[in-house]
Symmetry: C4
Subunit: 186 residues, 4 copies
């Protein structure tokens, strides 16, 4: 339980939307990290779920994010659990068999945080990828990460996710994952 | 319990007083955040309670803060609970029905912190809005926020309060709250 | 228990020694904060206990610190509890009646931290005054404060101590304490 | 249990490897701190265990590190526990008699962190020496230290280790340890 496990994980990408992203602090690096996570998930067979807040008003998710999602949930609540996310994550699974949620999104202190809190309230093991989260104001993002830690989430970086999902250098997807690390640069 | 709920909240604004504010680090942004909180509270039907430390000596609260408060408690102790705040917050409620307190004020490490600790000692669920708190020295404010976290408070930003109080974009006051966010700027 | 109480407190000042202080990061402000604490303690009837690490080698405590101490304990262990501090703090008290320890000193990550850990191991309620602690390297001090928090100490600032010890503005020593705050400046 | 004890400690140095170190942020200070730890361990009779990740690919450990290790474990998993580290640390000891692990290494957020989490999962008391850990990106190291704290490790500095291992200034190795502190400089 202290490390992320690809076989039990689902990746949730929250609200990387067209009319929101230009205002996000450090948006290009945030989106790039989200894409790295999504590509790693797809290489390793981890399901990718997107959400979009009021897409008629805020636009769809960044197109590169959107096409990497297996499904995208439309929502009106900031907390996607109030619009069915928890049910979407557990459909077709045995009762009590909750996936571990690796998640990131925007704004870090609104939709991402409220969704993470909703998942924690429902008992999901929740990992938040700080490097792929963004807010308009950097201080709001920092406050959200601290609050999520206290609420029971584990805050991680995108590289932590990749290297925990593969675990060892003989994994058949190790080279693919290493290339993702290199692509993102430093 | 992980998110703030407008229906259960009361807003407490501690000691934004005339002879104190000029010495506070970043005072204009601190007061502006307090006003945003108070306006959101009023739009959403959340009661607003102010406190003033020894007003004969330190002056009354900032006038814009004061006129947004439903009631203002005068006190001589740094911890307003020693001058009746807890009773003021629970008057007219069933025994054991404590409101959740969303609070901010000055100085962050003296009157705001001691009052928050007093509320925590009395079992109140306590949220401290960091962006609306101020001390003369920035380091004192940081130390207070960390200590309050360890004592059981949840430290939040003003935007977190607003978006948790409305919860979704179809709330009748959503546009009013969004305008408050825009008014404050970044 | 969430606030410091003058009636139950003892102030412990660890190793402000002549041959050590010139190497301490920010030494003048550290000593000044220690003197403010000691003067407040004396005004409020709080006992002040000093310690000196191997005084034949490192010299005596700063003279201004030393003359404010009711007693100064000489020690060879970095943790003063290994040289009798706990017994010194409880002598003449009923069994189980431990004072609450408000403490500060140098180096923050060696003698101050080891002594605080020793007190925590013995069940003392322990408050560490960050602004009156120093290490040669600033990063070591920060690491010590974080570690002390996790071990159960509460990290505070000197002003927090003063305003919790007096509690309200009608305390007979309030003006004296306020003058100490002003003397120290910002 | 709040302080490190030389008699119960083992030092584990993770992956200071030739093809990895040039990319590490602040590598010279990281290696220097590791050498100080290793020299102190050797002076005090603390066993030193090294690990190397896929040495055919990443090269051997820094030669100065390597020759201070009593044994060096080759591994393919990022978590050395998946390649036998826990058994190596407990071999020849009574069941349940686990040593306390003082550890550091690279990258802080990959092999060092995963190995520390593996040890924590197996019940080892784990101390992580931040100053002797490195990642390519400084933010990844910080995130790893925070996550390790939450998982139950205690994060320390190299000087903390040295002064807790000797405990007092009459220890026969005190002067040797003090010289290590001076050698490293500030």
């Amino acid at each position: 339980m202290l490390k992320m496990d690809a076989a039990r994980s689902v990746l949730v990408l929250v609200d990387y939307q067209g009319r929101l992203m230009p205002a996000i602090h450090g948006a290009p690096a945030v989106v790039e990290a989200a894409l790295v996570l999504a590509d790693a998930a797809r290489a390793l067979g981890v399901r990718v779920v997107g959400t979009e807040q009021n897409p008629d008003g805020l636009g769809r998710n960044d197109e590169a994010v959107r096409r990497r999602c297996d499904v995208t949930l439309s929502k009106m609540h900031f907390d996607a659990c109030s619009d069915g996310l928890a049910e979407l994550l557990t459909e077709g699974r045995a009762p009590g068999d909750q996936p571990a949620v690796v998640m990131a999104g925007c704004e870090a202190h609104v939709c991402l945080m409220q969704t993470a809190l909703g998942l924690l309230e429902r008992g999901f093991r929740t990992w938040v990828v700080e490097t792929a989260c963004g807010s308009r104001r950097a201080a709001d993002k920092l406050a959200a990460m601290q609050r999520l830690r206290e609420a029971g989430a584990t805050v991680v970086s995108d590289e932590m996710v990749l290297f925990e999902w593969v675990r060892h250098c003989r994994h058949p997807q190790f080279k693919a994952v290493l290339n993702l690390v290199k692509r993102r640069g430093s």
